[in-house]
Amino acid sequence: MRFSIYRYNPETDTRPRMQDYDIALEPTDRMLLDALIRIKASDDTLSLRRSCREGVCGSDAMNINGKNGLACITKLVELKEPVVIRPLPGLPVIRDLIVDMSQFFKQYHSVKPYLINDDPPPDKERLQSPADREELNGLYECILCACCSTSCPSFWWNPDKFVGPAGLLQAYRFIADTRDQATSERLDDLEDPYRLFRCHSIMNCVDVCPKGLNPTRAIGKIKELMVKRMV
């Protein structure tokens, strides 16, 4: 199978290049990550992140034939050859397929992604109805792979100011949690021309999310709450 892979090593390369690989696959190689591991076994200078190989850790996000996705759950049979692999767009490349995710995590951290509840906790669990818990479905499952934010033009232009779909999804995950008491503080923080309102509902995030989550809907809900509290 033929691959064309983005290569860049700051120690030896003045500019990035695409390198072609033609490799024989085994029948057990089903996912793109299997092929990349095979390529790395023959050329150990290829650098990429990977860990769980089942789509839950979020390490091996990359741009695959023009679309962001996780290598470990992208089936080889569904890919057109040559398979063009590039690092996630919009973030500085450290080397090969490895990008610097500092800006992405900075935005995630900026939404205070933790439960805020200053009441002394009860002896047992805080109660939450199944219906209230259901509100967190589609939100808490995010694996922070950055496929969404790095497919978002608004994030490309303003990665320092726009929280981005991943961060906003998590902001809403805590707003939607009945145990969290900081909704109005969270809304204040996001009521800003950049932090939230750079989202123009292009919906690339929804299109690429490997977990099938919908950040655009979460962003819409945040906007709704802002309108509601004004009236």
């Binding site: 150990d44 650098s47 190989r53 850790c57 089936k75 450290i94 808490y140 949690d177």
Partner: protein, 587 residues
């Protein structure tokens, strides 16, 4: 060569469940803590845990920690230390409630409490019938827990060193541990992390096997560091094979599937676990179910063209239950097995999953070794928690959901012990000369080695040997050959060559350093297994099919130096309750 050095009160190596739980406690105590992780914390392998965390909350049926303790002792095939098991089971409810207070998105019962499901080996009233004890967030409990703990650490402003790989421990003349030497992956820079307390929370080493549910990062780094530092590894022969890995891919399918009512079928469509475990059936403990499956396959009742796996049926649970309680399983099955479990059964096979053995520690998280007089002695400055540690709460076989509990309870306990120890002992000791010599020599070898086998080749050879000679069923002659073969692979691993010599994010170098650690784990596992001439828990020998309490009710201690084995007694005395005496194990 001058090496940069930074000083901390405590260094935590690893940012999975136990590392993060410990880091949180240390950071909230206002200690100066550094948390080192090879990967961004939420990428740690705790993220892949599915079914739940065990605690006798009794939210839907009567339950209490005594029953949980009994199940854990029995599950361990009596090799677990009963003081540690009592400690863990008594702390379970508090640990889980605390996690809920941190924001963990547990599923809920109709009255708003934490949802619990049955799990293998967890029973009511000392083994009578299965009880819902697994506290679950759908089938993504590990993901929810890891993210919750990370989030709480963000709140506590814990200091992380992300994509730093710890290479070796620093020990002085008296054997005290004074920190670690670590490498920043992005730059290749090596630095000394001097600390009065070093907590190893480096997780498992499933990657010693060819077929494993484990992530690529599970390379036993803490165990390798400990073995090279001259300290022992305990009970390494006990490696759990999870009954339900996806056939061909090895991806975990949670026991929660069987907890929700799924069951295993052989090629005749027979629910064969009824024959092996008439009472608990498909919810017998994992070693029992895995052996039953392999027996079915060996006797010709396997499924598929090679008759080499069995089926996990859950379509009868209905789309509603599957989508609500097991959505991740459905996703995995569709992606990795091409079956939608709402309509078809999932092809499964026992798959290497969890290391019961590890770095010997007591239930305060202190690492223990043999003192000069042969007695167990605390290694000052060194702590271990989570899968890399052997406390031993899991003994010869771990119960499902007890590992997430282990992470929480012993992560916190180790941190508390560190806080107490640092109060008593407030000054750092001076570093010995040549503190970083060992890791620098390892790096220098990789730098200068100009020819030799690739790391990938040698690693593959190791995995093949472990899979073929040290699997679900073990045979005396195969183990003997296995010892010779793994020693040969270990020899080869000292001469590997990487063609990538660059500094920046050199993952070839990382994989070579990981192989050093894997090899230590593989050696310890094979050699300890060959020596134990009995069957207990996950260690099942064809030539010694019975448990032998007279000779083998004891923990193995393996030393890298000379491949020496020592043994130490099992702690049969709990902290406050009556001991559970060893008896025949029936499910």
């Amino acid at each position: 060569m001058a090496i940069a050095k930074r000083q901390f009160d405590a260094v935590v190596v690893g940012a999975g469940g136990s590392g993060l739980r410990a880091a949180l406690h240390l950071a909230e105590a206002n200690l100066k803590v550094a948390v080192l992780s090879k990967v961004f914390p939420t990428r740690s392998h705790t993220v892949a845990a599915q079914g739940g965390v065990a605690a006798a909350l009794g939210n839907s049926e009567e339950d209490n920690w005594h029953w949980h303790m009994y199940d854990t002792v029995k599950g361990s095939d009596y090799l677990g230390d009963q003081d540690a098991i009592e400690f863990m089971c008594r702390k379970a409810n508090e640990a889980v409630y605390e996690l809920e207070h941190f924001g963990m998105p547990f599923d809920r019962t109709p009255d708003g409490k934490i949802y619990q499901r049955p799990f293998g080996g967890h029973m009511q009233d000392y083994g009578k019938k299965p009880v819902p004890r697994a506290c679950a967030a759908a089938d993504r409990t590990g993901h929810a827990m890891l993210h919750t703990l990370y989030q709480r650490n963000v709140r506590a402003r814990t200091q992380f060193f992300v994509e730093w790989m710890a290479l070796d421990l620093i020990r002085d003349q008296s054997g005290d541990v004074l920190g670690v030497v670590a490498m920043e992956m992005e730059t290749g820079e090596v630095m000394i992390f001097q600390a009065r307390a070093t907590l190893l929370a480096t997780g498992g080493a499933g990657r010693i096997f060819a077929s494993s549910t484990n992530a690529f990062i599970n390379t036993g780094d803490g165990l390798g560091m400990v073995a090279r530092a001259g300290l022992p590894l305990q009970d390494m022969e006990f490696f759990q094979f999870h009954p339900t890995g996806v056939y061909g891919a090895g991806i975990l399918i949670t026991e929660g599937v069987r907890g929700e009512g799924g069951y295993l079928l052989n090629k005749n469509g027979e629910r064969f676990m009824e024959r092996y475990a008439p009472n608990a059936k498909d919810l017998a403990s994992r070693d029992v179910v895995s052996r039953s499956m392999v027996t079915e396959i060996k006797e010709g009742r396997g499924v598929g063209k090679d008759a080499d796996h069995v089926l996990l049926k859950l379509d009868h649970l209905g789309a509603e239950v599957i989508n609500r309680r097991l959505p991740g399983i459905r996703e995995i099955s569709i992606k990795f097995a091409n079956v939608d479990p709402i309509k078809e059964p999932i092809p499964v096979v026992p798959t290497a999953h969890y290391m019961m053995g590890g770095i010997p520690a007591n239930y305060h998280g202190q690492v223990v070794a043999l003192g000069g007089n042969g007695f167990v002695a605390v290694v000052r400055g060194l702590y271990a928690a989570g899968e890399c540690a052997c406390v031993s709460v899991h003994g010869a076989n771990r119960l499902g959901c007890n590992s997430l509990l282990d992470l929480l309870v012993f992560g916190r306990a180790a941190a508390q012990q560190i806080i107490d120890d640092l109060k008593r002992d407030p000054y750092p000791k001076p570093l010995p000369a040549g503190a970083a010599d060992r890791p620098l020599a390892r790096l220098a070898r990789l730098e200068t080695q100009k020819d030799g086998e690739s790391v990938a080749e040698v690693a593959a050879a190791m995995r093949r040997v472990m899979q073929a000679y040290c699997g679900v069923f073990r045979f005396g002659d195969l183990l003997k050959q296995g010892v010779a073969k793994i020693k040969e692979v270990a020899e080869r691993s000292g001469h590997t060559m990487i063609s990538d010599k660059s500094k920046v994010f050199n993952t070839a170098r990382v994989e070579a350093l990981e192989l050093d650690n894997l090899i230590e784990v593989a050696m310890a596992t094979m050699i300890s297994a060959e020596a134990r001439t009995e069957s207990r828990g996950a260690h099942a020998r064809d030539d010694y099919p019975n448990r032998d309490d007279e000779n083998w009710l004891k923990h193995t201690l393996y030393f890298k130096n000379g491949y020496r084995l020592h043994y130490k007694p099992v702690t049969l005395r709990p902290l406050t309750v009556e001991p559970f005496q060893p008896k025949a194990r029936v499910y």
